[in-house]
């Protein structure tokens, strides 16, 4: 093995080709004067990660992200690589990075065997599914038959569901290999993974910081390339916020776009299954696979599923202003007080980039915007108090050893559920009690009507709305632990979208200072119901033309070989 690379701070900066935040997006980072240092560093990086096309030295400058799914497919069909090679590479990287970030609660024991199955399929000349050989991480609140599914909770420690969630079944039918189950805040309640009953996941950009939540493990796994893509769930921002913190693409589909069958319910009127990818195309391909009506989920939509990836052209075919005519509304309430200055600056730079692509940006105001947060927490806690009553130690999960039935419920739940979950159940119980329902739950539902209407009005005048996904970059581990309201405040940019059931896409757009290479910031794009194709097309064009950024975390260069 070659010796570890020289890790001087300047070479780290060069590796990531990130623009220091005070330089305007138009200026290119000068790299040539330190090229000899860069070359030495890259040689070692290459030997560690040479098989991954995404981390080849020539790509480290300004090549936009490409589709890993399509490149795996191409390499399988051309026989350049085997599925076993690909799986081996990802498993290897997973094992090397896991001690630093702990994204996974469970790693599959059958990955190599499934990869060999894919190779047999390739050899037989039969048709390959769109995700053949693609390693997928699945958030642990999504049921996978035979693999533990805990929802991040001790009450379900060791629980193996007897069925696959519909989204998982569809992934498997498309040829995907489920590499493992990812860490999360318990039952989706939290924004950092510190609410997990098992472990805290670290952000690959700075391991003293959180990856976000509740789908923190899924986001960090994709960011650290432990898997190609992953599934998460988004009830109040749990896909979009970690996507922003970890510098990956996060997609929250329209409510009803993806079946919730097999997703452990947190708030049934708000939950959706979403996905993470290192590029917009990869997210689009996953959306294609998991979308569609499901007779086992009566809230799933019969709205037709277009081929989301077919709208995404290669940059060779872009005109000079591919977004000409697009009307973009920047949500005024999300770029003012309480938002980190660096985040505002990244979002404004992203807006400038959209303008360069031909779009027109207008500030819009959404009335009732700030009411969304208390309304969300009333609705979510109330629905959760009902949904989590099934975890009682009777039919599955951990059961306390007691002599009497009421204690069975009380003690099993007390032992198995974490403090945040308990608090939200209690708050929800309060809000739904006789005499309080009208004051809290019903009023929250009325606020939901106001918010739906305000989005609808705004999206009649604009094609899409944009905002940051989070008011700040990733928090330090431990920063928000004892202050529930401070943690809830971080969801202000995301909850209204869930209340309105709209789709949203988060695309990494810049950095703020922090960590050894900066902390990523994501741009959130919101569309009207079932407008995922529009969002993905715009996100793809934005991502492919974003100058000078590479969202590859330092962990992948700092890991010991």
């Amino acid at each position: 093995m070659p010796p570890p690379p020289v890790r001087s701070p300047s070479s780290l900066l060069l590796c990531h080709c990130r623009l220091p935040f005070h330089i305007s997006p138009q200026t290119r980072l000068p790299l040539s004067h330190n090229s000899s240092v860069r070359r030495r560093f890259h040689c070692s990086a290459v030997s560690a990660l040479s098989s991954d096309p995404q981390i080849a030295p020539t790509d480290l400058t300004t090549t936009p992200p490409s589709s890993h799914i399509l490149s795996i497919r191409e390499s399988l069909l051309s026989r350049r690589r085997t599925a076993a090679d690909v799986a081996g590479e990802y498993l290897d990287r997973l094992r090397r990075t896991e001690p630093h970030i702990r994204s996974f609660l469970h790693v599959s024991e059958t990955t190599m065997r499934e990869a060999e199955e894919v190779d047999r399929l390739v050899a037989s000349g039969k048709d390959l599914g769109p995700l053949a050989g693609v390693l997928v991480g699945v958030k642990d609140n999504i049921c996978t038959a035979g693999m533990p599914s805990t929802g991040g909770s001790r009450i379900l420690e060791g629980y193996r569901p007897p069925f696959d969630a519909t989204a998982v079944r569809k992934l498997k039918e498309a040829g995907a290999i489920i590499i493992g189950k990812t860490n999360m805040d318990e039952f989706g309640m939290g924004s950092t993974t510190e609410g997990s009953g098992f472990q805290v996941t670290a952000n690959p950009w700075d391991i003293s910081r959180v990856p976000g939540g509740s789908s923190g493990g899924s986001a960090s796994a994709v960011s650290a390339k432990q898997c190609v893509v992953s599934l998460g769930s988004d009830t109040g921002g749990s896909v979009r916020q970690p996507a922003s913190f970890c510098g990956v693409v996060g997609l929250k589909p329209t409510y009803g776009r993806v079946s919730r069958f097999g997703l452990m319910a947190y708030a049934s009127s708000l939950d959706v299954i979403g996905c993470f990818g290192a590029s917009v195309i990869d997210s689009a391909i996953v959306l294609n696979v998991v979308s569609g009506h499901d007779r086992f989920d009566s809230t799933s939509s019969t709205h037709e599923v277009p081929d989301y990836a077919s709208f995404l052209m290669s940059t060779d075919h872009f005109e000079s202003t591919p977004l000409k005519g697009l009307k973009v509304g920047m949500i005024r309430e999300t770029i003012g007080d309480g938002v980190d200055v660096g985040v505002i600056s990244s979002i404004k730079a992203a807006a400038l980039h959209l303008e360069e692509l031909g779009a027109t940006i207008t500030e819009v105001s959404l009335p009732s915007f700030s009411l969304g947060l208390p309304a969300y927490y009333v609705l979510a806690s109330s629905e959760a108090s009902s949904n989590l009553s099934r975890y009682d130690g009777v039919r599955y999960g951990n059961r306390a050893t007691v002599d009497e039935l009421n204690s069975l419920y009380g003690d099993s739940r007390a032992d198995g559920l974490g403090p945040e979950v308990k608090m939200r159940i209690l708050m929800g119980t309060y809000a739904l009690s006789a005499g309080y329902y009208d004051a809290y739950y019903k009023r929250a539902q009325q606020v939901r009507t106001l918010i739906r209407k305000s989005f609808k009005d705004a999206l009649e005048k604009m094609d899409i709305l944009v905002s940051p996904a989070v008011p700040s970059p990733a928090y330090k581990i431990g920063e928000k632990v004892n202050d529930p309201l401070a943690m809830y405040a971080g969801d202000i940019m995301t909850v209204n979208v869930n209340l309105a059931g709209l789709p949203a896409l988060v695309v990494p757009c810049g950095f703020v200072e922090g960590g050894s290479a900066g902390l990523p910031v994501g741009l959130q794009m919101i569309g009207s119901s079932f407008s995922e194709e529009k969002l993905l097309r715009i996100g793809h064009i934005f991502e492919q033309t974003l100058p000078n950024y590479r969202f590859v975390p330092p962990l992948l260069f700092l890991e010991l070989v």
Binding site: F163, R413, P419, T429, Y430
Partner: protein, 138 residues
């Protein structure tokens, strides 16, 4: 004062509004909403032990002390919802406007993996899932 409201209801509301504003420190102007009446309840602060009982969670005494102030703080914060004029706003049960008319056939199907369901039950004595007896007088 709108019709349908008694003097005592209006006074209660005004006092309640002041209390909520004082607790949450919310600088919003409170408005009396004409047709909204708080029935029965006097908006007592959350009794954590009672709630834990209803939710069937056996809280340790330390937890009751720890959760109490945090829960009260969040419930106070929820009070912002009282400050808004929501008269004639229809509540939205869910996000989407479209109501799916799809109904599946009402015919039972056998789940093919009953073995796996039974296997995860903590205590099974065919055909029963066993639980301890009910001893309490409730």
């Amino acid at each position: 004062m709108a019709t349908g409201m008694t003097m005592s209801d209006a006074t209660l509301l005004r006092r309640l509004s002041t209390l909520l504003v004082a607790r949450s420190g919310c600088p919003r102007r409170m408005r009396l909403f004409s047709s909204y009446i708080v029935r029965g309840a006097t908006f007592e602060p959350p009794d954590v032990s009672h709630l834990a009982d209803s939710a069937r969670i056996s809280l340790a005494p330390g937890e009751v002390e720890d959760f109490g102030p945090k829960i009260r703080q969040v419930i106070d914060w929820f009070g912002q919802l009282q400050a808004v004029d929501l008269e004639s706003v229809e509540p939205s049960v869910r996000a989407d406007a479209e109501v799916s008319m799809y109904k599946r056939e009402d015919t039972p199907e056998t789940f093919e993996n009953r073995e796996a369901i039974i296997r995860v039950a903590p205590s099974y004595d065919d055909p029963y899932i066993k639980v301890p007896k009910v001893l309490s007088k409730e």
